[in-house]
Symmetry: C2
Subunit: 205 residues, 2 copies
DNA sequence: GTCTATATTGAGATAGAC
DNA sequence: GTCTATCTCAATATAGAC
């Protein structure tokens, strides 16, 4: 009942296909120009309607951003949770997590660009507090696997596991800035290149 | 004479200490809130003056951003150029470049945050075309060293050198988001941790 | 679900006094 | 070098017709 009441508070049911179209358009423009520099008029233009008509679908410009971020973060954290719950040897689980991260990137690059660009600004606002929670849970899941690998002697333990986690998270996420879906490497190949580099390094021994 | 004429075209000589103070303040606020979401009134407030008075020092809000980015990028590229010109074995040069990158980060974290956050938006504007040139020269310098290392058999050559470069550049730059100048690790220590990870990997063999 | 028309606010920037 | 006062424009959002 709570969900039903929440849905009624919106301008229109969340399942509308038109709504999803507009949201995808908005995400792309947010990614290209930055959220603050995007005007509702631009979004409306790209959707082929007038700016006022947007407010039939959404409460505000901020609501659009909110939905995009929530959906993307939820999707990513879900993947990580499932992978860690499934369990296995730390090396295999870490490999799977890296592939999860790149898969989330590939599933909606524009949404990830927006999240990376706006994260620091948004976590300061109460409305976007869930971003901090999602980031915390992700760190717990990833760092836990790295620590277990250190305990069982699979990973070297002379570097702070949380620092390793941060370097990994940032490296994977930020690659969305140069990743080209139509380029010569698939997202899985890039994930494997990264894993090669991460696990064995670039030096010949 | 050209430089003198250019200086006169500005509102006030570029050497003014007050000017540099205001620029540092603006940089910090740009980094915290994003350039587009920062108002000239906020900058003026933080500087203890009224917004109109800013225009005695700067032509526009965009001019402030321009000066910050230009100074930071020039400083970084200068370091890289010097290091590569000095030469040496590829492994040593790459180590030095990584330390250069982290040193640039440490020299002005706020400016780097602004550059990372606004880069994609700004390179689209003619005024900020120099960003693209700086990025290109950096890529040429770094990728050249990596390629030489591959030729001489120091680095593995089964991964595209430009992909290695991108992963490295992004990983170093983006760490400014969690780097804490008052934290327990110095910027040199973080650089060494990163080099350990990059060169030999995290897997025990 | 979209349009017309408009209310309202807040932004960057300027002119001239001190 | 800063302040007072203000211009001008563009942005989000709303109300009601179709």
């Amino acid at each position: 009942m709570t969900a039903e009441r929440a849905a009624r508070r919106r301008a229109v049911p969340a399942e509308s296909v038109r709504r999803e179209e507009i949201l995808a358009i908005a995400t792309r423009i947010f990614a290209d120009k930055g959220y603050a520099s995007t005007t509702v008029r631009e979004i409306a233009d790209a959707a082929g309607i007038l700016s006022g008509s947007l407010y039939h679908h959404f409460d505000s410009k901020e609501s659009m951003l909110d939905e995009v971020m929530r959906a993307f973060l939820d999707g990513a954290v879900d993947r990580y949770r499932r992978t860690v719950t499934k369990g296995g040897d730390p090396l295999g689980v870490l490999r799977a997590l890296v592939h999860d991260g790149f898969a989330a990137l590939g599933s909606n690059p524009a949404a990830l660009v927006v999240m990376i660009n706006e994260f620091n600004l948004l976590v300061q606002s109460p409305r976007f507090a869930y971003l901090r929670e999602g980031a915390s849970e992700t760190e717990r899941l990833w760092a836990g696997v790295i620590e277990e690998g250190m305990r069982t002697g699979v990973f070297r333990s002379d570097i702070d596991p949380r620092m390793i986690y941060r370097f990994m998270r940032d490296t994977i996420w930020i690659s969305v800035r140069w990743y080209d879906p139509d380029g010569k490497n698939t997202i899985e190949e890039i994930a494997d290149f990264y894993l090669e580099m991460l696990l064995d390094g670039i030096r010949v021994r």
